[in-house]
Amino acid sequence: MLKNYFKIAFRSFKKNKAYSAINIFGLAIGITSLIFILLFIQDELSYDKFHENKDRLYRVTGSYDRGEQKRVESALTTYQLGPQIDFQFPQVEKAVRISPNNNSNFLINGENIHQENIVFADSGFFDVFSFPLVEGDKKHLFKVANEAVLTQSTAQKMFGDDNPIGSVIEMDGIPITISGIMEDTPSNSHFSASMIISSETIHDQYPSWVRDNWSGTSHYTYILLDKNISPEVFEQELNKYWDSTFKEYGDIAQYAEFSLQPLSKIHLESNLVNEIQANGNLTYVYIFGAIGFIIVVIAAINYMNLATAQSLNRTKEVGIRKVLGAEKGHVKKQFLSESLLISTIAFVVALISVEIIIPFFNQITGKSIDVIFPNDLPLIFVIFASVLVIGLISGGYPSFWLSRLSIIRTLKSNSLGSNRGGELLKRGLVTLQFSISAIVLVSTILISKQIQFVQNKNLGINPEQVLVIPFQNSEIANRFTEIKEELIKESWVSSVTATNNPLPGRITNWRPYRTNGSDENLSIPTIVVHDDFIETIEAEISEGRNFSKDRISDRTNAYLINEAAARFLNLTNPVGSKLVGSTFTGNEWGSKDAEIIGVVKDFHFTSLHDEIQPVVFSLSSEQTTPLNNLAVRVRAEDLETAISGLERTWNTFSNGVPFEYSFLQDDISLLYDAEKKFLQLFSIFTTLAIIISCLGILGLVAFAVNQKMKEIGIRKVLGANVVDIIWAFVKSYSQLIIISNLLAWPIAYVLMKDWLEDFAYRVPISMLEFVIAGAIIFLISIGTISIVAYKAALLNPVKSLKSE
């Protein structure tokens, strides 16, 4: 019996090739999207789950009062925290500090090699985290200074096929012995590393503000908690201990408040200042989950609509079968098995498409997901099961309807013309489909508008033609003045400056300030800049004057502040006001009693997610923190000459450290990387949703046309022209499309309003986006309908009338 069902199913596919193709294609698109979305979600949810101790592994984070309106929630803690926990709390099995260093240069067999992604870690790193060692003994690792474990890729890069164990490499003159090889850190770890070096190695290099600071933010601290202790209890104990013990070390220490973050929640749920690497976003996981579900629903609706429409052509067959002894159950089973067959074929097509598309998917999402078949059989099984459910549900209605038809009616004519209940359901479902399409389209338009907005918004500076070059080590930084002298001789250099804070980037050095006569200290983010800073980034001075090279006193007696700082300090006439601040060389505090000489027009240091911080600009001097980044504005004509010229100059000062640079413009653009990826994925799924919906309406109209051949014939005999006939079809569907847009708009509005809340600076939602989305959907769908109707309208009426 089943064989007979499948046989007839296959033959009816063959007979209705276009219909079957639309059906399978539509469903396959839906399933493919679903698989990708599940892969995405699965990968996002898998972060840090590979650690054996994941259930009692926590990161300690800190909340700090820096005198700003809000406390600063940071992923970093003081260097002191880890050892203190280890020493004071037996309920913690092990505390490990790590500190990433993105740029280091190594001397290996006489050759300078630049290496990114280095992590300094305490002993116990390999006990707490489960990064498998390929070589080396984790019990003895990192007990002493000057040890390193390389990942397999790094070992290959540094030593080729030679065994690196026991080899000695040099980092800024410090010899380091390779004592282990680990597997590469998996892509679903919230931090990655190319090599791990024992913390002890650089302990002596740390300035005192790192080593002896009880409220500093320099290291990430992870703890492995005893099984019997709840994190909440430990959190309380830790804060109590910290408060009572370190109050005496000045008033700043007590401002730290620690919390525990389960490791497996960091990737999706943590969004603190100074995250070790960019995290994911749980909202996006929800959004993609919803989109996956929606696309499958649209595809299933399509399938159901097409199958119902198509079933009108199969009524005669049902009648004959019933005459020959088929019962309702037989008919239901037959059509359900057809539906299952179609879903299964669509599933196979989807699997193949997934395998083909995976590399592109990885490119867009920045993930590294392997081919899923046969690696991920459980996932495939789950998807196949859902596909079967989709097949059963969407094949359910037509099979139920067909099985209930009276034999007499089915045999009387080839088709049954109308099925009022079914017609209503179909129209309802089409409306739903197009509503969904409209929602996602409006969202896409708004998301891309916002991203364009943040990228093109006048940042208050001109980031074009500015190259940012990290000094990489203090020796090079110390030679900045010489470098600058060399550079400004070049014709392609417009101006040169340096800062201690990376650009772009949130300013993380807070310094206490007092204004005229006030004895209240206010903490304000402070950036140390060199001469020509304002000129190089092309910021504007809105009041007063810029730092001047001709006035030596500007080095020690002048501040610039931005407008936000003027507001924060409550200064109506900031220029000329006294500001009592402090300086810090990294080792020594000093005071800087100076005058505000000018106000810089607010500009964005970071992404538009954040509001502009109040900022104090202090000119670099002997008393300030060292400079870290060189920024060069070059003239537009010849970028290549500029870059190679910069590299040449760099090489004369760098002592072999390789030249690294980036364009400020690109760095700013990178701030919106997550949003851009999101937009890319979102647009793809939107396009798919619209395509599937249009395939659906195409199929429906094709069948409506088929059903109405006779009507079309009669109308033509009575004098209707082609336009009249197309119009008749367009009219009946255009109402639906308009209704679905109207239904979609309020939903899209609420959703997008919520999404935009995430940005401190955002585009307004206007009627225009809705109208554009509506128009696009209207035109595409009406176009689709017209093409089908046009073909029918051209038919000779004699033919269509005869067919009845």
């Binding site: 007979k15 067959e317 088929a326 019962e327 037989h330 009276s406 034999i407 007499i408 045999l411």
Partner: protein, 229 residues
């Protein structure tokens, strides 16, 4: 075999009620060949549908093979129909997606027969209708007469006791029509009861008895010359 008493069939839509059959009394014995004649819309097909258990009468009694079947569910009617009644239609009603063999085999499938048994019976039926050579063709590849022969093979494949034919020659030219009528006559000779609706007096000549319907009533019942019940 068939006893109908005071059969009534009323079709009603929202606004009109149409009486298709009114007070029809018919008795058909096993082995008979009965033709039902009458103008379009007189209720011939309705009567045939009720006799074939495709439909229930609105009123009256209908006995088939000794069972009162006037008011059975679709499922019960289907059970009784299977294997007992074969149908032949004016438009053949073969399933286009199935081959000749598969079409003939179909009733056996619903009777739950094994594939060997189905093959044997379907081939025998096709042999009987001289259609074996076309067993792997699809209906559209055959002439109308051939299609109707396949339909007859399908009607007899399960050894139906009763064959109901609704204008079996209506779509055929006279040569093919005659051929079909000869086959039906042969079947009748071999013991199958046949009830046939027809417009054609020529076809009616093959029957033993002709029932004339008009506006839902039986108006006359004629014994054909040369036939005796």
């Amino acid at each position: 075999m068939i006893q109908a008493r005071n059969l009534k069939k009323v079709y009603s839509t929202e606004e009109v009620e149409t009486t298709a059959l009114n007070n029809v009394n018919i008795e058909i014995k096993e082995g008979e060949f009965v033709a039902i004649m009458g103008p379009s819309g007189c209720g011939k097909s309705t009567l045939l549908n009720i006799m074939g258990l495709l439909d229930n009468p609105s009123d009256g009694e209908y006995h088939f093979l000794g069972h009162d079947v006037s008011n059975r569910t679709e499922r019960e009617r289907a059970q009784l129909r299977k294997g007992n009644i074969g149908f032949i239609f004016q438009s053949f009603n073969l399933i286009d997606e199935l081959t000749v063999f598969e079409n003939v085999e179909l009733p056996l499938l619903y009777l739950g027969m094994s594939s060997d048994e189905r093959k044997e019976k379907a081939e025998a039926a096709l042999e009987r209708m001289s259609m074996m050579h076309r067993r792997n063709h699809f209906p559209q590849q055959l002439s109308g007469g051939q299609q109707q022969r396949v339909a007859i093979a399908r009607a007899v494949v399960a050894n139906a006791k009763l064959i109901l034919a609704d204008e079996p020659t209506g779509n055929l030219d006279s040569d093919h029509g005659n051929e079909v009528m000869k086959v039906l006559a042969e079947l009748n000779e071999q013991g199958t009861t046949i009830v046939m609706v027809t417009h054609s007096p020529h076809d009616a000549d093959y029957a033993m008895r002709v029932i004339h319907l008009f506006d839902g009533h039986v108006v006359t019942e004629n014994m054909q010359e040369g036939f005796h019940v």
